[in-house]
Protein backbone atom coordinates (compact mmCIF):
# COMPACT_ATOMS: atom_id res chain seq x y z
CA UNK A 1 0.00 0.00 0.00
CA UNK A 2 2.87 2.29 1.00
CA UNK A 3 4.57 1.52 -2.26
CA UNK A 4 1.47 2.44 -4.21
CA UNK A 5 1.16 5.67 -2.31
CA UNK A 6 4.78 6.59 -3.06
CA UNK A 7 4.27 5.96 -6.73
CA UNK A 8 1.14 8.08 -6.73
CA UNK A 9 3.04 10.92 -5.01
CA UNK A 10 5.88 10.68 -7.53
CA UNK A 11 3.42 10.73 -10.39
CA UNK A 12 1.68 13.76 -8.93
CA UNK A 13 5.01 15.56 -8.53
CA UNK A 14 5.99 14.78 -12.09
CA UNK A 15 2.68 16.17 -13.27
CA UNK A 16 3.32 19.39 -11.34
CA UNK A 17 6.74 20.01 -12.97
CA UNK A 18 6.60 22.76 -15.55
CA UNK A 19 6.54 21.35 -19.04
CA UNK A 20 9.64 21.91 -21.19
CA UNK A 21 9.43 24.94 -23.48
CA UNK A 22 8.57 24.08 -27.05
CA UNK A 23 11.59 23.33 -29.21
CA UNK A 24 11.96 26.21 -31.69
CA UNK A 25 13.75 23.82 -34.02
CA UNK A 26 11.08 21.13 -33.97
CA UNK A 27 11.20 20.10 -37.61
CA UNK A 28 7.71 18.70 -37.41
CA UNK A 29 6.48 22.28 -36.98
CA UNK A 30 8.54 23.69 -39.81
CA UNK A 31 7.08 24.29 -43.22
CA UNK A 32 8.86 22.52 -46.03
CA UNK A 33 6.04 22.72 -48.49
CA UNK A 34 6.08 25.10 -51.38
CA UNK A 35 4.51 25.26 -54.79
CA UNK A 36 6.65 24.52 -57.80
CA UNK A 37 8.48 27.52 -59.16
CA UNK A 38 6.88 29.19 -62.13
CA UNK A 39 8.95 30.47 -65.05
CA UNK A 40 7.29 32.66 -67.66
CA UNK A 41 8.26 34.85 -70.58
CA UNK A 42 6.42 37.71 -68.94
CA UNK A 43 8.73 40.69 -68.47
CA UNK A 44 8.51 43.52 -65.98
CA UNK A 45 9.05 47.22 -66.57
CA UNK A 46 8.52 48.74 -63.13
CA UNK A 47 10.86 49.11 -60.18
CA UNK A 48 13.83 46.75 -60.01
CA UNK A 49 13.20 46.06 -56.31
CA UNK A 50 9.82 46.02 -54.60
CA UNK A 51 8.47 44.92 -51.23
CA UNK A 52 7.76 46.30 -47.77
CA UNK A 53 10.29 43.85 -46.33
CA UNK A 54 13.20 45.42 -48.21
CA UNK A 55 15.82 47.82 -46.87
CA UNK A 56 17.92 49.45 -49.54
CA UNK A 57 20.88 50.69 -47.50
CA UNK A 58 22.76 50.10 -44.25
CA UNK A 59 19.93 51.37 -42.08
CA UNK A 60 17.42 48.59 -41.52
CA UNK A 61 13.70 49.11 -41.64
CA UNK A 62 11.70 47.59 -38.83
CA UNK A 63 10.15 44.20 -39.40
CA UNK A 64 7.09 44.35 -41.61
CA UNK A 65 4.29 42.63 -39.68
CA UNK A 66 2.74 40.87 -42.68
CA UNK A 67 3.24 37.09 -42.44
CA UNK A 68 3.70 36.89 -46.21
CA UNK A 69 6.47 39.01 -47.65
CA UNK A 70 6.21 39.67 -51.36
CA UNK A 71 9.61 40.58 -52.70
CA UNK A 72 10.78 41.47 -56.18
CA UNK A 73 14.50 41.58 -56.97
CA UNK A 74 15.19 41.93 -60.69
CA UNK A 75 18.61 41.34 -62.20
CA UNK A 76 20.31 44.15 -64.09
CA UNK A 77 23.66 45.00 -65.61
CA UNK A 78 24.95 48.47 -64.80
CA UNK A 79 28.06 50.50 -64.07
CA UNK A 80 28.64 51.20 -60.37
CA UNK A 81 31.37 53.15 -58.63
CA UNK A 82 33.14 50.92 -56.11
CA UNK A 83 35.85 53.45 -55.22
CA UNK A 84 36.59 57.00 -56.27
CA UNK A 85 37.40 56.78 -59.98
CA UNK A 86 36.78 53.03 -60.16
CA UNK A 87 33.63 52.52 -62.23
CA UNK A 88 32.91 48.85 -62.56
CA UNK A 89 30.68 46.95 -64.97
CA UNK A 90 28.53 45.11 -62.42
CA UNK A 91 25.67 42.62 -62.38
CA UNK A 92 23.04 43.27 -59.73
CA UNK A 93 19.95 42.23 -57.84
CA UNK A 94 17.52 45.12 -57.52
CA UNK A 95 19.84 47.40 -59.50
CA UNK A 96 22.26 47.88 -56.61
CA UNK A 97 25.29 46.24 -55.00
CA UNK A 98 24.79 44.70 -52.55
CA UNK A 99 21.19 43.88 -53.31
CA UNK A 100 18.47 45.10 -50.92
CA UNK A 101 18.21 43.37 -47.54
CA UNK A 102 15.12 41.23 -46.99
CA UNK A 103 13.78 41.18 -43.43
CA UNK A 104 11.39 38.51 -42.16
CA UNK A 105 10.56 36.46 -39.08
CA UNK A 106 10.61 32.72 -38.49
CA UNK A 107 7.40 31.30 -39.89
CA UNK A 108 6.99 34.05 -42.49
CA UNK A 109 6.49 33.11 -46.09
CA UNK A 110 8.65 34.85 -48.67
CA UNK A 111 6.91 35.15 -52.02
CA UNK A 112 9.71 35.94 -54.44
CA UNK A 113 9.64 37.16 -58.01
CA UNK A 114 12.57 38.00 -60.24
CA UNK A 115 12.74 39.14 -63.84
CA UNK A 116 16.02 38.81 -65.70
CA UNK A 117 16.38 42.34 -67.06
CA UNK A 118 20.01 42.06 -68.08
CA UNK A 119 18.83 42.65 -71.66
CA UNK A 120 17.29 46.05 -70.95
CA UNK A 121 18.88 48.91 -72.91
CA UNK A 122 21.60 50.65 -70.94
CA UNK A 123 22.45 54.34 -71.46
CA UNK A 124 25.81 53.29 -72.91
CA UNK A 125 25.35 49.65 -73.96
CA UNK A 126 29.02 48.90 -74.61
CA UNK A 127 29.84 49.61 -70.96
CA UNK A 128 27.70 46.83 -69.52
CA UNK A 129 28.07 43.09 -69.88
CA UNK A 130 26.08 41.26 -72.54
CA UNK A 131 22.73 39.88 -71.34
CA UNK A 132 23.04 36.47 -69.76
CA UNK A 133 21.20 33.95 -67.64
CA UNK A 134 20.88 34.51 -63.90
CA UNK A 135 19.30 32.81 -60.92
CA UNK A 136 18.60 33.28 -57.23
CA UNK A 137 19.90 31.10 -54.42
CA UNK A 138 18.46 32.00 -51.00
CA UNK A 139 20.47 30.48 -48.16
CA UNK A 140 17.48 31.25 -45.94
CA UNK A 141 15.32 28.74 -47.80
CA UNK A 142 15.00 24.97 -47.66
CA UNK A 143 13.81 24.09 -51.13
CA UNK A 144 14.80 22.04 -54.13
CA UNK A 145 17.58 23.95 -55.88
CA UNK A 146 16.69 22.33 -59.19
CA UNK A 147 13.21 23.81 -58.99
CA UNK A 148 13.62 27.18 -57.27
CA UNK A 149 17.17 28.17 -58.09
CA UNK A 150 17.10 27.47 -61.80
CA UNK A 151 18.68 29.97 -64.14
CA UNK A 152 16.41 32.08 -66.28
CA UNK A 153 17.15 33.71 -69.60
CA UNK A 154 16.99 37.44 -70.28
CA UNK A 155 13.33 38.46 -70.45
CA UNK A 156 12.13 35.56 -68.31
CA UNK A 157 10.52 35.82 -64.88
CA UNK A 158 10.68 33.25 -62.09
CA UNK A 159 8.36 33.13 -59.09
CA UNK A 160 8.63 30.88 -56.07
CA UNK A 161 8.02 30.92 -52.35
CA UNK A 162 9.53 29.50 -49.22
CA UNK A 163 9.03 29.66 -45.48
CA UNK A 164 11.76 31.02 -43.23
CA UNK A 165 12.29 28.18 -40.74
CA UNK A 166 15.49 29.23 -38.99
CA UNK A 167 16.51 32.60 -37.56
CA UNK A 168 19.69 34.11 -38.91
CA UNK A 169 21.38 36.35 -41.42
CA UNK A 170 21.51 34.48 -44.67
CA UNK A 171 23.26 35.26 -47.91
CA UNK A 172 21.48 35.29 -51.22
CA UNK A 173 23.35 35.18 -54.49
CA UNK A 174 23.16 34.28 -58.12
CA UNK A 175 23.91 30.59 -58.53
CA UNK A 176 24.41 30.50 -62.27
CA UNK A 177 27.77 29.20 -63.48
CA UNK A 178 30.34 30.48 -63.18
CA UNK A 179 29.05 31.31 -59.73
CA UNK A 180 32.32 32.89 -58.67
CA UNK A 181 32.02 35.45 -61.46
CA UNK A 182 28.38 36.19 -60.73
CA UNK A 183 29.08 36.84 -57.05
CA UNK A 184 32.25 38.82 -57.74
CA UNK A 185 30.29 40.95 -60.19
CA UNK A 186 27.89 42.05 -57.45
CA UNK A 187 25.05 39.54 -57.32
CA UNK A 188 24.49 39.09 -53.57
CA UNK A 189 22.62 40.40 -50.57
CA UNK A 190 21.27 39.46 -47.17
CA UNK A 191 18.10 37.96 -45.75
CA UNK A 192 17.53 38.63 -42.06
CA UNK A 193 15.22 36.22 -40.29
CA UNK A 194 14.29 37.23 -36.76
CA UNK A 195 13.49 34.60 -34.13
CA UNK A 196 9.77 33.99 -33.83
CA UNK A 197 9.69 35.88 -30.52
CA UNK A 198 12.10 38.62 -31.57
CA UNK A 199 15.58 39.31 -30.19
CA UNK A 200 16.29 39.05 -26.45
CA UNK A 201 17.72 42.58 -26.26
CA UNK A 202 16.46 45.99 -27.26
CA UNK A 203 18.63 47.87 -29.72
CA UNK A 204 18.55 51.58 -30.46
CA UNK A 205 20.05 51.27 -33.93
CA UNK A 206 20.06 48.50 -36.45
CA UNK A 207 22.44 48.38 -39.41
CA UNK A 208 23.41 45.81 -41.96
CA UNK A 209 27.03 45.55 -43.11
CA UNK A 210 27.85 43.32 -46.07
CA UNK A 211 31.52 42.69 -46.72
CA UNK A 212 32.64 41.64 -50.18
CA UNK A 213 35.59 41.65 -52.52
CA UNK A 214 35.97 43.10 -56.00
CA UNK A 215 38.53 41.93 -58.53
CA UNK A 216 38.81 44.55 -61.23
CA UNK A 217 41.07 45.78 -64.00
CA UNK A 218 40.74 48.51 -66.61
CA UNK A 219 38.73 47.26 -69.54
CA UNK A 220 40.99 45.73 -72.21
CA UNK A 221 38.88 47.63 -74.77
CA UNK A 222 39.91 50.87 -73.04
CA UNK A 223 36.29 52.00 -72.70
CA UNK A 224 35.80 55.23 -70.79
CA UNK A 225 33.19 56.30 -68.25
CA UNK A 226 32.97 60.01 -67.44
CA UNK A 227 36.50 60.45 -68.76
CA UNK A 228 38.00 57.69 -66.61
CA UNK A 229 38.60 54.04 -67.42
CA UNK A 230 35.83 51.47 -67.22
CA UNK A 231 36.78 48.61 -64.92
CA UNK A 232 35.78 45.03 -65.59
CA UNK A 233 36.16 41.74 -63.78
CA UNK A 234 39.76 40.50 -63.62
CA UNK A 235 39.37 36.76 -64.04
CA UNK A 236 42.96 35.94 -63.15
CA UNK A 237 42.88 37.82 -59.88
CA UNK A 238 39.46 36.35 -59.17
CA UNK A 239 40.64 32.77 -59.53
CA UNK A 240 43.79 33.52 -57.54
CA UNK A 241 41.67 35.14 -54.77
CA UNK A 242 43.65 38.39 -54.99
CA UNK A 243 41.06 41.15 -54.67
CA UNK A 244 41.71 44.71 -55.69
CA UNK A 245 39.05 46.05 -53.33
CA UNK A 246 37.54 44.69 -50.14
CA UNK A 247 34.57 46.76 -49.11
CA UNK A 248 31.61 47.19 -46.82
CA UNK A 249 28.24 47.65 -48.51
CA UNK A 250 29.71 47.75 -51.99
CA UNK A 251 31.86 50.83 -51.61
CA UNK A 252 35.54 51.42 -50.78
CA UNK A 253 35.55 53.41 -47.51
CA UNK A 254 31.86 54.12 -48.20
CA UNK A 255 30.80 54.46 -44.60
CA UNK A 256 33.79 56.65 -43.85
CA UNK A 257 32.38 59.21 -46.23
CA UNK A 258 28.85 58.62 -44.91
CA UNK A 259 29.16 57.34 -41.33
CA UNK A 260 26.40 55.46 -39.57
CA UNK A 261 24.80 57.41 -36.74
CA UNK A 262 24.63 56.47 -33.06
CA UNK A 263 24.50 58.37 -29.79
CA UNK A 264 26.46 57.84 -26.57
CA UNK A 265 24.81 55.19 -24.42
CA UNK A 266 22.97 53.62 -27.32
CA UNK A 267 23.06 49.92 -28.15
CA UNK A 268 23.90 49.22 -31.77
CA UNK A 269 22.82 45.97 -33.37
CA UNK A 270 24.83 45.27 -36.46
CA UNK A 271 23.95 42.49 -38.89
CA UNK A 272 27.26 41.52 -40.48
CA UNK A 273 27.48 39.24 -43.49
CA UNK A 274 30.69 38.34 -45.27
CA UNK A 275 29.73 37.30 -48.78
CA UNK A 276 33.32 36.86 -49.89
CA UNK A 277 33.40 35.32 -52.43
CA UNK A 278 36.82 34.08 -51.33
CA UNK A 279 38.15 35.94 -48.29
CA UNK A 280 37.58 35.71 -44.57
CA UNK A 281 36.58 38.71 -42.48
CA UNK A 282 37.81 39.45 -38.98
CA UNK A 283 35.18 42.04 -38.15
CA UNK A 284 36.05 44.50 -35.41
CA UNK A 285 34.79 47.85 -34.18
CA UNK A 286 37.54 50.04 -32.78
CA UNK A 287 36.64 51.57 -29.42
CA UNK A 288 34.07 49.11 -28.20
CA UNK A 289 33.57 45.45 -27.35
CA UNK A 290 30.84 43.26 -28.68
CA UNK A 291 28.52 42.75 -25.72
CA UNK A 292 26.84 39.97 -27.65
CA UNK A 293 27.73 38.05 -30.75
CA UNK A 294 25.09 35.83 -32.25
CA UNK A 295 26.84 33.68 -34.80
CA UNK A 296 24.95 33.37 -38.05
CA UNK A 297 22.51 35.90 -36.62
CA UNK A 298 20.85 33.38 -34.31
CA UNK A 299 20.62 34.34 -30.61
CA UNK A 300 20.93 30.67 -29.69
CA UNK A 301 24.55 30.84 -30.88
CA UNK A 302 25.65 33.45 -28.36
CA UNK A 303 29.09 34.63 -27.30
CA UNK A 304 29.83 37.52 -24.93
CA UNK A 305 32.55 40.13 -24.71
CA UNK A 306 34.11 39.54 -28.13
CA UNK A 307 36.68 41.85 -29.76
CA UNK A 308 36.35 40.42 -33.27
CA UNK A 309 34.15 37.95 -35.03
CA UNK A 310 35.64 35.68 -37.66
CA UNK A 311 33.46 35.13 -40.70
CA UNK A 312 34.23 32.90 -43.64
CA UNK A 313 32.57 33.38 -46.98
CA UNK A 314 28.81 33.34 -46.47
CA UNK A 315 29.17 33.42 -42.68
CA UNK A 316 27.35 36.04 -40.67
CA UNK A 317 26.85 37.35 -37.16
CA UNK A 318 24.81 39.87 -35.26
CA UNK A 319 27.13 41.95 -33.11
CA UNK A 320 25.71 44.21 -30.43
CA UNK A 321 27.71 46.86 -28.65
CA UNK A 322 27.33 50.01 -26.64
CA UNK A 323 28.56 53.40 -27.77
CA UNK A 324 30.40 54.46 -24.61
CA UNK A 325 30.99 58.16 -25.37
CA UNK A 326 31.17 60.76 -28.12
CA UNK A 327 33.39 59.63 -30.95
CA UNK A 328 33.72 57.84 -34.23
CA UNK A 329 33.94 54.09 -33.84
CA UNK A 330 35.73 52.42 -36.69
CA UNK A 331 34.44 49.24 -38.28
CA UNK A 332 37.28 47.32 -39.90
CA UNK A 333 38.16 43.94 -41.17
CA UNK A 334 41.06 43.33 -38.82
CA UNK A 335 42.83 41.47 -41.58
CA UNK A 336 44.41 44.83 -42.30
CA UNK A 337 45.29 44.04 -45.86
CA UNK A 338 41.52 43.90 -46.38
CA UNK A 339 40.91 47.09 -44.41
CA UNK A 340 43.50 48.89 -46.50
CA UNK A 341 41.55 47.85 -49.59
CA UNK A 342 38.46 49.67 -48.36
CA UNK A 343 36.83 47.45 -45.72
CA UNK A 344 36.41 50.30 -43.27
CA UNK A 345 33.53 52.40 -42.01
CA UNK A 346 32.49 54.60 -39.12
CA UNK A 347 29.74 54.61 -36.53
CA UNK A 348 29.80 58.20 -35.39
CA UNK A 349 28.09 60.25 -32.73
CA UNK A 350 28.48 63.33 -34.94
CA UNK A 351 27.13 63.78 -38.43
CA UNK A 352 30.59 64.53 -39.80
CA UNK A 353 33.38 62.64 -38.10
CA UNK A 354 36.34 64.78 -37.08
CA UNK A 355 39.28 64.49 -39.45
CA UNK A 356 41.72 63.63 -36.68
CA UNK A 357 39.95 60.36 -36.11
CA UNK A 358 40.73 59.28 -39.59
CA UNK A 359 44.26 60.45 -39.28
CA UNK A 360 44.65 58.66 -36.02
CA UNK A 361 43.46 55.47 -37.60
CA UNK A 362 45.52 56.07 -40.65
CA UNK A 363 43.12 55.04 -43.33
CA UNK A 364 42.95 56.94 -46.55
CA UNK A 365 39.45 58.28 -47.01
CA UNK A 366 39.07 59.20 -50.61
CA UNK A 367 42.12 60.40 -52.53
CA UNK A 368 42.68 57.94 -55.34
CA UNK A 369 44.58 58.19 -58.60
CA UNK A 370 42.69 57.72 -61.85
CA UNK A 371 45.55 56.53 -64.06
CA UNK A 372 45.09 52.73 -64.27
CA UNK A 373 48.77 52.03 -63.62
CA UNK A 374 48.77 54.30 -60.59
CA UNK A 375 45.53 52.70 -59.34
CA UNK A 376 47.10 49.24 -59.71
CA UNK A 377 50.22 50.49 -57.95
CA UNK A 378 48.14 51.87 -55.10
CA UNK A 379 46.27 48.62 -54.72
CA UNK A 380 49.49 46.59 -54.74
CA UNK A 381 51.14 48.96 -52.29
CA UNK A 382 48.22 48.80 -49.90
CA UNK A 383 48.18 45.02 -50.10
CA UNK A 384 51.89 44.41 -49.64
CA UNK A 385 53.68 47.43 -48.22
CA UNK A 386 51.54 49.18 -45.62
CA UNK A 387 52.83 47.01 -42.81
CA UNK A 388 56.28 48.62 -43.13
CA UNK A 389 55.72 51.94 -44.95
CA UNK A 390 53.38 54.87 -44.53
CA UNK A 391 52.18 57.45 -47.03
CA UNK A 392 52.84 60.75 -45.34
CA UNK A 393 52.59 59.25 -41.86
CA UNK A 394 56.30 59.21 -41.08
CA UNK A 395 58.76 56.38 -40.78
CA UNK A 396 57.73 52.91 -39.69
CA UNK A 397 59.87 49.81 -40.15
CA UNK A 398 60.84 51.41 -43.44
CA UNK A 399 60.79 54.96 -44.82
CA UNK A 400 57.70 57.03 -45.54
CA UNK A 401 57.07 56.77 -49.28
CA UNK A 402 55.71 60.33 -49.48
CA UNK A 403 58.41 62.31 -51.27
CA UNK A 404 60.33 59.26 -52.39
CA UNK A 405 60.31 60.32 -56.05
CA UNK A 406 61.94 63.57 -54.99
CA UNK A 407 64.59 61.81 -52.90
CA UNK A 408 65.49 59.15 -55.48
CA UNK A 409 65.57 59.09 -59.25
CA UNK A 410 63.22 56.69 -61.11
CA UNK A 411 66.02 54.38 -62.27
CA UNK A 412 67.28 53.97 -58.71
CA UNK A 413 63.77 53.27 -57.45
CA UNK A 414 63.12 50.75 -60.20
CA UNK A 415 66.35 48.89 -59.38
CA UNK A 416 65.55 49.02 -55.67
CA UNK A 417 62.11 47.51 -56.22
CA UNK A 418 63.48 44.84 -58.51
CA UNK A 419 66.64 43.74 -56.68
CA UNK A 420 66.87 45.20 -53.17
CA UNK A 421 69.25 42.48 -51.99
CA UNK A 422 71.80 43.29 -54.76
CA UNK A 423 71.49 47.02 -54.12
CA UNK A 424 72.27 46.42 -50.44
CA UNK A 425 75.58 44.90 -51.42
CA UNK A 426 76.69 47.51 -53.94
CA UNK A 427 74.79 50.78 -53.61
CA UNK A 428 76.00 53.28 -50.96
CA UNK A 429 72.56 54.88 -50.54
CA UNK A 430 70.94 51.49 -50.03
CA UNK A 431 73.59 50.51 -47.51
CA UNK A 432 73.05 53.75 -45.59
CA UNK A 433 69.32 53.19 -45.53
CA UNK A 434 69.76 49.67 -44.17
CA UNK A 435 71.84 51.04 -41.33
CA UNK A 436 69.32 53.79 -40.64
CA UNK A 437 66.49 51.27 -40.41
CA UNK A 438 68.05 48.88 -37.89
CA UNK A 439 69.52 46.55 -40.50
CA UNK A 440 66.07 45.43 -41.51
CA UNK A 441 66.36 44.71 -45.24
CA UNK A 442 63.51 45.26 -47.64
CA UNK A 443 62.34 41.87 -48.93
CA UNK A 444 62.43 41.15 -52.64
CA UNK A 445 58.76 41.06 -53.70
CA UNK A 446 59.59 39.42 -57.06
CA UNK A 447 57.92 42.26 -58.90
CA UNK A 448 57.59 42.23 -62.68
CA UNK A 449 58.65 45.20 -64.80
CA UNK A 450 54.98 46.09 -65.25
CA UNK A 451 54.36 46.02 -61.49
CA UNK A 452 57.40 48.19 -60.83
CA UNK A 453 56.10 50.69 -63.35
CA UNK A 454 52.76 50.72 -61.50
CA UNK A 455 54.44 51.35 -58.15
CA UNK A 456 56.43 54.23 -59.61
CA UNK A 457 53.32 55.75 -61.16
CA UNK A 458 51.64 55.57 -57.79
CA UNK A 459 54.62 57.14 -55.99
CA UNK A 460 54.70 59.92 -58.60
CA UNK A 461 50.99 60.49 -58.11
CA UNK A 462 51.49 60.75 -54.33
CA UNK A 463 54.19 63.35 -54.78
CA UNK A 464 52.06 65.34 -57.20
CA UNK A 465 49.30 65.85 -54.61
CA UNK A 466 49.03 69.25 -52.95
CA UNK A 467 50.20 69.40 -49.33
CA UNK A 468 47.59 68.00 -46.97
CA UNK A 469 45.58 66.37 -49.75
CA UNK A 470 46.48 62.88 -48.60
CA UNK A 471 45.33 61.43 -45.34
CA UNK A 472 48.14 59.70 -43.59
CA UNK A 473 48.48 55.96 -43.87
CA UNK A 474 50.80 54.97 -41.13
CA UNK A 475 49.69 51.91 -39.29
CA UNK A 476 46.88 49.69 -38.27
CA UNK A 477 45.85 48.61 -34.85
Amino acid sequence: MKKLLSLAVLAALAACEPSAPPDPYDVSKMDFTSKAAKVTAQGHKGAFAEGAALSMGAELKRLDAAPVKTVRLDTTHKVIEIAPGVKFSAWTFGDQVPGPTVRARVGDKIRFVMTNRSDEPAPVPQLVAAPMMHSMDFHAAMVSPQDKYRSIAPGQTIEFEFTANYPGIFMYHCGTPMILEHIASGMYGAVIVEPRGGYPTKADREYVVVQSEFYVKPSPGKQKVDGGPLYVLDGERLRAAQPTHTVFNGRHNGMVVNPLAAKPGERVRMFVLNVGPSKTSSFHVVGTIFDRVWMEGNPDNQMRGMQTVLLGSSNSAIVEYLIPEEGSYIMVDHHFANASQGAIGLVSTSAKPPAQDLEHHNMQASATPTDPDAVAGKQAFESKCLACHSVGGGRKLGPDVAGVTKRRDPAWLARWLKEPEKMLQTDPAAKAMLKEYNNLPMPNQSLSEAEIKQYLKYFQWIDAQPPGALKTQASGH
Binding site: A130, Q146, G155
Partner: protein, 135 residues
Protein backbone atom coordinates in the same frame (compact mmCIF):
# COMPACT_ATOMS: atom_id res chain seq x y z
CA UNK B 1 20.69 4.60 -78.13
CA UNK B 2 17.76 3.37 -76.08
CA UNK B 3 19.58 4.41 -72.95
CA UNK B 4 20.19 7.86 -74.37
CA UNK B 5 16.56 8.24 -75.33
CA UNK B 6 15.51 7.14 -71.88
CA UNK B 7 17.90 9.62 -70.29
CA UNK B 8 16.65 12.36 -72.55
CA UNK B 9 13.06 11.51 -71.71
CA UNK B 10 13.85 11.60 -68.00
CA UNK B 11 15.58 14.93 -68.38
CA UNK B 12 12.63 16.39 -70.19
CA UNK B 13 9.90 14.85 -68.08
CA UNK B 14 11.66 15.44 -64.82
CA UNK B 15 12.06 19.03 -65.74
CA UNK B 16 15.26 19.91 -63.96
CA UNK B 17 17.02 16.66 -63.04
CA UNK B 18 20.35 16.50 -64.82
CA UNK B 19 22.47 13.40 -65.18
CA UNK B 20 25.64 15.44 -64.71
CA UNK B 21 24.67 16.85 -61.35
CA UNK B 22 24.08 20.38 -62.61
CA UNK B 23 20.71 21.98 -63.11
CA UNK B 24 19.55 21.92 -66.70
CA UNK B 25 19.21 25.69 -66.81
CA UNK B 26 22.69 26.15 -65.43
CA UNK B 27 24.06 24.04 -68.23
CA UNK B 28 22.11 26.14 -70.68
CA UNK B 29 23.51 29.29 -69.08
CA UNK B 30 27.01 28.01 -69.77
CA UNK B 31 26.50 28.37 -73.54
CA UNK B 32 23.76 30.99 -73.64
CA UNK B 33 24.91 33.85 -75.88
CA UNK B 34 22.34 36.60 -76.07
CA UNK B 35 23.67 37.99 -79.34
CA UNK B 36 23.39 34.56 -80.95
CA UNK B 37 19.89 34.06 -79.53
CA UNK B 38 18.66 37.44 -80.73
CA UNK B 39 20.11 37.03 -84.20
CA UNK B 40 18.82 33.48 -84.61
CA UNK B 41 15.26 34.29 -83.54
CA UNK B 42 15.20 37.29 -85.86
CA UNK B 43 16.11 34.94 -88.72
CA UNK B 44 13.39 32.48 -87.81
CA UNK B 45 15.90 29.96 -86.49
CA UNK B 46 15.49 27.94 -83.30
CA UNK B 47 18.07 27.44 -80.57
CA UNK B 48 18.79 24.00 -79.19
CA UNK B 49 20.73 23.24 -76.02
CA UNK B 50 22.26 19.79 -75.47
CA UNK B 51 23.89 17.91 -72.64
CA UNK B 52 26.94 16.05 -73.90
CA UNK B 53 27.26 12.57 -72.50
CA UNK B 54 30.31 10.34 -72.62
CA UNK B 55 33.68 9.45 -71.19
CA UNK B 56 35.83 12.01 -73.06
CA UNK B 57 38.16 13.39 -70.41
CA UNK B 58 40.02 15.99 -72.51
CA UNK B 59 38.13 19.28 -72.77
CA UNK B 60 39.92 20.46 -75.89
CA UNK B 61 39.38 17.17 -77.71
CA UNK B 62 35.71 17.30 -76.72
CA UNK B 63 35.43 20.84 -77.98
CA UNK B 64 36.99 19.96 -81.34
CA UNK B 65 34.82 16.89 -81.72
CA UNK B 66 31.67 18.86 -81.01
CA UNK B 67 32.62 21.68 -83.35
CA UNK B 68 33.24 19.17 -86.08
CA UNK B 69 30.05 17.25 -85.41
CA UNK B 70 27.89 20.39 -85.33
CA UNK B 71 29.06 21.47 -88.74
CA UNK B 72 26.14 20.35 -90.88
CA UNK B 73 23.59 21.80 -93.32
CA UNK B 74 20.81 23.71 -91.61
CA UNK B 75 22.92 24.55 -88.56
CA UNK B 76 24.33 28.06 -88.28
CA UNK B 77 28.03 27.35 -87.80
CA UNK B 78 28.68 30.74 -86.20
CA UNK B 79 26.07 30.03 -83.53
CA UNK B 80 27.73 26.92 -82.10
CA UNK B 81 28.69 27.38 -78.45
CA UNK B 82 30.40 24.76 -76.32
CA UNK B 83 31.11 24.53 -72.62
CA UNK B 84 33.65 21.78 -72.15
CA UNK B 85 33.48 22.31 -68.39
CA UNK B 86 29.74 21.80 -68.12
CA UNK B 87 29.53 19.52 -71.16
CA UNK B 88 26.96 21.59 -72.96
CA UNK B 89 26.47 22.32 -76.65
CA UNK B 90 24.13 24.87 -78.14
CA UNK B 91 23.40 25.83 -81.72
CA UNK B 92 20.90 27.66 -83.87
CA UNK B 93 19.22 25.76 -86.68
CA UNK B 94 16.66 26.43 -89.34
CA UNK B 95 13.69 24.13 -88.66
CA UNK B 96 12.48 24.62 -92.23
CA UNK B 97 15.60 22.86 -93.50
CA UNK B 98 16.48 20.40 -90.78
CA UNK B 99 14.38 19.05 -87.90
CA UNK B 100 15.87 18.75 -84.45
CA UNK B 101 15.60 14.97 -84.51
CA UNK B 102 17.82 14.86 -87.58
CA UNK B 103 20.40 17.08 -85.89
CA UNK B 104 20.45 14.83 -82.84
CA UNK B 105 20.82 11.76 -84.99
CA UNK B 106 23.69 13.24 -87.00
CA UNK B 107 25.46 14.53 -83.90
CA UNK B 108 25.22 11.15 -82.23
CA UNK B 109 26.46 9.38 -85.33
CA UNK B 110 29.44 11.68 -85.72
CA UNK B 111 30.32 11.56 -82.04
CA UNK B 112 29.92 7.82 -81.61
CA UNK B 113 33.56 7.11 -82.46
CA UNK B 114 34.48 9.04 -79.32
CA UNK B 115 31.66 7.36 -77.39
CA UNK B 116 29.98 10.73 -76.98
CA UNK B 117 26.29 11.42 -77.44
CA UNK B 118 23.96 14.38 -76.99
CA UNK B 119 20.77 14.77 -74.99
CA UNK B 120 18.54 17.68 -76.01
CA UNK B 121 17.69 19.74 -72.94
CA UNK B 122 15.71 22.74 -74.10
CA UNK B 123 14.70 24.46 -77.30
CA UNK B 124 14.03 28.15 -77.77
CA UNK B 125 11.62 29.10 -80.54
CA UNK B 126 10.59 32.50 -79.16
CA UNK B 127 12.38 35.10 -77.02
CA UNK B 128 12.58 34.23 -73.32
CA UNK B 129 10.87 30.90 -73.87
CA UNK B 130 12.94 27.80 -73.13
CA UNK B 131 10.82 24.70 -73.54
CA UNK B 132 11.41 21.02 -73.01
CA UNK B 133 12.11 18.96 -76.08
CA UNK B 134 9.32 16.62 -77.14
CA UNK B 135 10.64 13.43 -78.63
Amino acid sequence: MKASLLSAALLCLGGEAAACGYCVEDKIAATYDHAVVTRALQRGQHLAFFHVDGPEPRPEATRRALEHAASMPGVDKASVRISADLLTLSLAFDPRHVPLAAIVERLDRRLSARKLSVLPLRIMERPADLTSVKR
